[in-house]
């Protein structure tokens, strides 16, 4: 396969993996969320993420002949996943889940905004549709971050601490791929550096409004490795749990 095709494939797989894993993490809050209304909102966001992941796996299957979405989503070896470490971490308390959701979704929004103009034509319409869903995800995250950042002393401290934990992981979203140059030259995607820049410019003013101190990205070691298949200890047990039903009865016609 030529480098351009490889580059697109790699880009699609990491996006699909990020969405599948964060979608599953969000879904772990179902029934355990802090209040019914919020439970419904986050569950719905989780459903959007898994749906977006499915769409990308289907696109990969159609364009590049990868396995079907279920096989790609549930039955690959752990080191074949290309998700970043941010999405793998357990939910922890709600503060961490919210900050992760905030940091992740602002990056997603810009990523799909950039892909709307991609030279890889099949991604354009998908990107536009995803963006309208992610607009709600961002709204949900922003309202909470502003509110809890400026709420009580406890809520502020918890959000600040969660931000400091999640920030180096979030920088791992932008781990450069081996194909950055190809993607940029072929006008497929402007690259992780450009995305990271736009992301920082977006989240900084919101964090300021929320009275939260954004860690200085230049003084932080980003959590890289996920894009090359090196994962935290949290991914393997998660995949185990996600695929349990499918592996229990692979011949089942429905489950």
């Amino acid at each position: 396969m030529d480098p351009k095709q490889e580059a697109i494939k790699e880009l699609l797989i990491k996006m699909a993996d990020d969405q599948l894993i964060i979608g599953h993490r969000h879904s772990e809050w179902i029934g355990l969320g802090p209040i019914l209304e919020e439970d419904i909102a986050l569950a719905s966001i989780a459903q959007d993420k898994v749906g977006q992941s499915y769409t990308l796996f289907q696109l990969l299957h159609d364009q590049f002949g990868t396995a079907d979405p279920d096989t790609m989503g549930f039955l690959r070896a752990e080191n074949e996943y290309r998700c970043c470490h941010l999405v793998e971490y357990p939910n922890g308390e709600y503060d961490f889940s919210l900050i992760r959701h905030f940091l992740f979704d602002h990056a997603e929004y810009h990523r799909f905004d950039m892909l709307q103009a991609s030279a890889f034509e099949p991604i354009r319409g998908i990107a536009r549709k995803f963006k309208s869903e992610i607009k709600y995800h961002i709204l949900h995250a922003d309202v909470w971050v502003r509110r809890l950042g400026t709420g009580t002393e406890e809520s502020h401290q918890r959000m600040q601490a969660a931000l400091e934990t999640a920030f180096p992981l979030a920088l791992g979203i932008f781990e450069p791929s081996p194909y950055e140059q190809v993607l940029i030259e072929e006008n497929i995607f402007p690259g992780e550096d450009a995305l990271r820049q736009r992301w920082l410019e977006t989240i900084q003013p919101i964090l300021e409004e929320a009275s939260l101190q954004m860690p200085d990205p230049s003084s932080i070691e980003p959590a890289y490795g996920g894009r090359r298949g090196y994962h935290t200890e949290h991914l393997a047990p998660l995949l185990e749990e996600m695929s349990w039903t499918l592996r229990y009865d692979p011949e089942a016609e429905r489950w």
């Binding site: 772990e28 355990l32 209040i35 019914l36 209304e37 919020e38 419904i40 909102a41 719905s44 709600y136 709204l139 949900h140 309202v143 909470w144 509110r147 749990e241």
Partner: protein, 139 residues
């Protein structure tokens, strides 16, 4: 030491909740206030009251309303209003809507009758039109 609750749901097992864990009683009034949700299904249509929800602020009420009342049908607009901001009558005054028998002339039934006459007239005209047509065709 008691055992942790065992469940088929791995998330519950991970929470390590003791079987005899005591739950503190909830304080009265610790819930968020309620908002009334209005939904518009088509541009220009009236916004219709579809239900209520709990939220700590108007912006979060809108965020919640979108998923609770807007995700299963087409939506062109939504409003939320604090339930406490709605003015209504005292329950004991609701009887003012009861109408006395001698005031039936104020109700619109009479106009409904007119509508019926118009419909009948239209139907008659149409039938006459069709019978003319079939005669013309048979010749």
């Amino acid at each position: 030491m008691s055992d942790f609750i065992q469940s088929l749901d791995p998330r519950i097992v991970r929470l390590q909740v003791r079987e005899d864990q005591p739950f503190e009683p909830k304080e009265a009034g610790d819930q968020w206030e309620t908002y009334e949700v209005f939904h518009q299904a088509k541009t220009g249509a009236r916004l219709i009251h579809v239900g209520s929800l709990h939220a700590p602020s108007p912006d979060l009420a809108l965020v919640f309303a979108k998923e609770q009342y807007g995700r299963r049908s087409t939506t062109t607009d939504m409003w939320v209003v604090r339930t406490a901001d709605i003015f209504t009558l005292h329950r004991q005054d609701i009887d003012m809507f009861e109408t006395a028998q001698e005031k039936l002339h104020r109700e619109p039934q009479g106009y409904m009758e007119v509508r019926k006459y118009i419909e009948e007239f239209k139907k008659r005209q149409q039938q006459e039109g069709t019978s003319d047509g079939s005669e013309a065709g048979s010749h």
